[in-house]
């Protein structure tokens, strides 16, 4: 087929790396604001903000960026289902989402019959529906499909009893009288991890391996900064870059459930080379596929082999082998 993920057709001359990021992509925020980290990338980096799943997916499909960061399970799985030429090469963090409800709600049982907000088709949707099922609440609550910002408005004005939302929107909900019930890290431990991944256009990666590797080195460096002694400074800069207000953005960044570079090649991340299919990435993508299929959103779940073929550990291996310090 012709047009699938053509190599940087709409930009990115040789030596230019086009990176997508979200407004809560702290890794990218740190890389973008730390010249020392950018120095690790042998070329020019351009950061492109995206706001929604469709934009990420469409951007990957149209080849608008070479590398995506902070990409959740649904767009990645969607892209694989659409035969996009991409590889998952890194895992950055768990989703930073949580269920926030009004204080009057004390236990999951109190939720029966209540209206709850969620964003249909997002990675929060995947975690949330799984949690509802685990708590036997599926079908017993009224689900209201709301955009992330609309959910905050609806919660503030009492139109919903709570909602499963992404950070920092959860912070606004908590600030206006909400209580956190469960977050995605906890749900991940229950067997439904929602991951934030780095993907790359396969043909771009083949043509520009040094650029891609360089970006991962910077990303790994960002992890050190975000967990190191000066993390508050780094995250404040990143938060400014992302456009968060400091009051909300800095705490969110500090509490982000990051995945350490050392876990990349373990079952918490991409999985061990040769045993990728048992890694968190493939496992969670398979579950996401089954979920999306059960939602009727995709017609056919990509096979484990299909998904495995879209995971590329070679860059993570080079990082683990110390390629970054050379």
């Amino acid at each position: 087929s012709s047009g699938t993920g053509a190599t940087s057709s709409s930009g990115g001359k040789q030596g230019n790396l086009l990176v997508s990021y979200f407004s809560n992509g702290y890794y990218s925020g740190v890389v973008a604001t730390q010249p020392s980290l950018q120095a690790k990338i042998p070329g020019k980096v351009k950061f492109l903000e995206v706001q929604s799943g469709p934009a990420t997916l469409a951007g990957m499909k149209s080849g608008s960026y070479n590398l995506t960061t902070q990409t959740g399970n649904p767009p990645v799985l969607g892209a694989i289902a659409l035969n996009t030429n991409l590889s998952v090469i890194w895992v950055e963090a768990y989703d930073n989402a949580a269920l926030v409800v009004q204080k009057s709600i004390k236990s999951p049982a109190d939720l029966v019959g209540k209206s709850l907000g969620y964003l249909e088709g997002s990675s929060e949707d995947f975690s949330f529906q799984s949690w509802l099922k685990l708590n036997h609440l599926a079908g017993k609550v009224t689900l209201v499909n709301l955009d992330r910002q609309a959910m905050v408005a609806a919660f503030k004005t009492g139109k919903i009893a709570g909602g499963y939302n992404d950070a920092p929107f959860t912070s606004s909900m908590i600030a206006s009288g909400g209580r956190q019930v469960v977050d995605s890290t906890q749900i991940a431990k229950m067997g439904f991890p929602a991951l934030n991944m780095v993907t790359v256009d396969q043909s771009f990666a083949k043509a520009n391996p040094k650029l891609v590797l360089g970006y991962l080195c910077a990303d790994a460096g960002a992890y050190q900064l975000m967990t190191g002694p000066n993390k508050k400074q780094a995250i404040t800069k990143a938060s400014d870059f992302l456009g968060q207000t400091r009051a909300l953005g800095v705490p969110t960044g500090l509490s982000y459930p990051l995945i350490a570079p050392k876990d990349e090649l373990t079952s918490k991340g991409l999985g061990a080379p040769g045993n990728v299919k048992n890694g968190a990435v493939v496992q969670s993508l398979v579950k996401t596929g089954t979920f999306l299929k059960s939602q009727g959103i995709i017609n056919k779940v990509p096979t484990v082999a299909d998904i495995t073929a879209h995971v590329d550990t070679s860059f993570a291996q080079k990082v683990a082998n110390g390629a970054c310090s050379k």
């Binding site: 087929s1 799943g53 659409l82 408005a153 609806a154 919903i160 959103i297």
Partner: protein, 289 residues
Amino acid sequence: MSGTLSNPPTAILDPRLATGDAKPSLGGRLSELMRRRYLSVVSIVGALVIWELIAVLIVRDPVFLPTPIATVGALIHYWDRPYPSQGKPLWYDTYISLIRILVGFAIGTIIGIIIGGLMAAVRPIRSIIDPFIELTRPLPPLAFIPLLLVWFGLGETPKIVLITIGVIPIVTVSTAAAITDVPAELLHAARCLGASEFQTAVYVQIRAALPQIITGMRLAMGISWTSIVAAEFVAATAGLGYVILQAGQFLRTDLIFAGVLIIAVLGITLDALLRLLKSRIDPAGRSAQ
């Protein structure tokens, strides 16, 4: 006081009457219409064929461009199956969007006709309202979605309100213009024939303005459909706009096209109904249409 004038009524001077063309047969009118529509049908069929060929031969990726056949396939497939599974089947989406449009359109039309009528009747009201219509003309409806949510909650209200606020200015302007455009002589004639001011307003002025008001309503109906996706942007769980948004999330292009197709068909159908209504109340316009 009786007897017939010697000067006979001559139809000679009107060629239309002389050749008996005044009331062409229904069959004649239909075939006339057919002939006029012929090229249109050919061009639409041609476009479908070209689209199919481009999709199959050149693009060859249904995500970029589904074929017309795939589009119709998706439409049929999801007509009685929900998408996504906690959503509703397409027939229900169609139904719910239609209801929203019709309710929003009806409310907007009624408000628009009332305001427009007042503007036409009372000069100062016109001067007061005109600048607001000028001011609101360029405003993007999407900007108001967060506010509509805050003001009207999550139910049907904000969706209908969004459609209504698109309809009001168009119907207002066209109603005001239509009523103002009724020739003063038509009203003067009524007064001379013994009609009171009220009778003149109702039986002549508003009646004469109706066809042009309906033209405004046709325009407003078109605009209503263009805002159905925006209206169903927030907190919708069904509707064509909702399906289109959901399909967009995972680039189900065939389903987007199917939704758009339904909107096009409904849009044209409702327009045709309004046109029919217009031709019923405007005998002179029937052939001109």
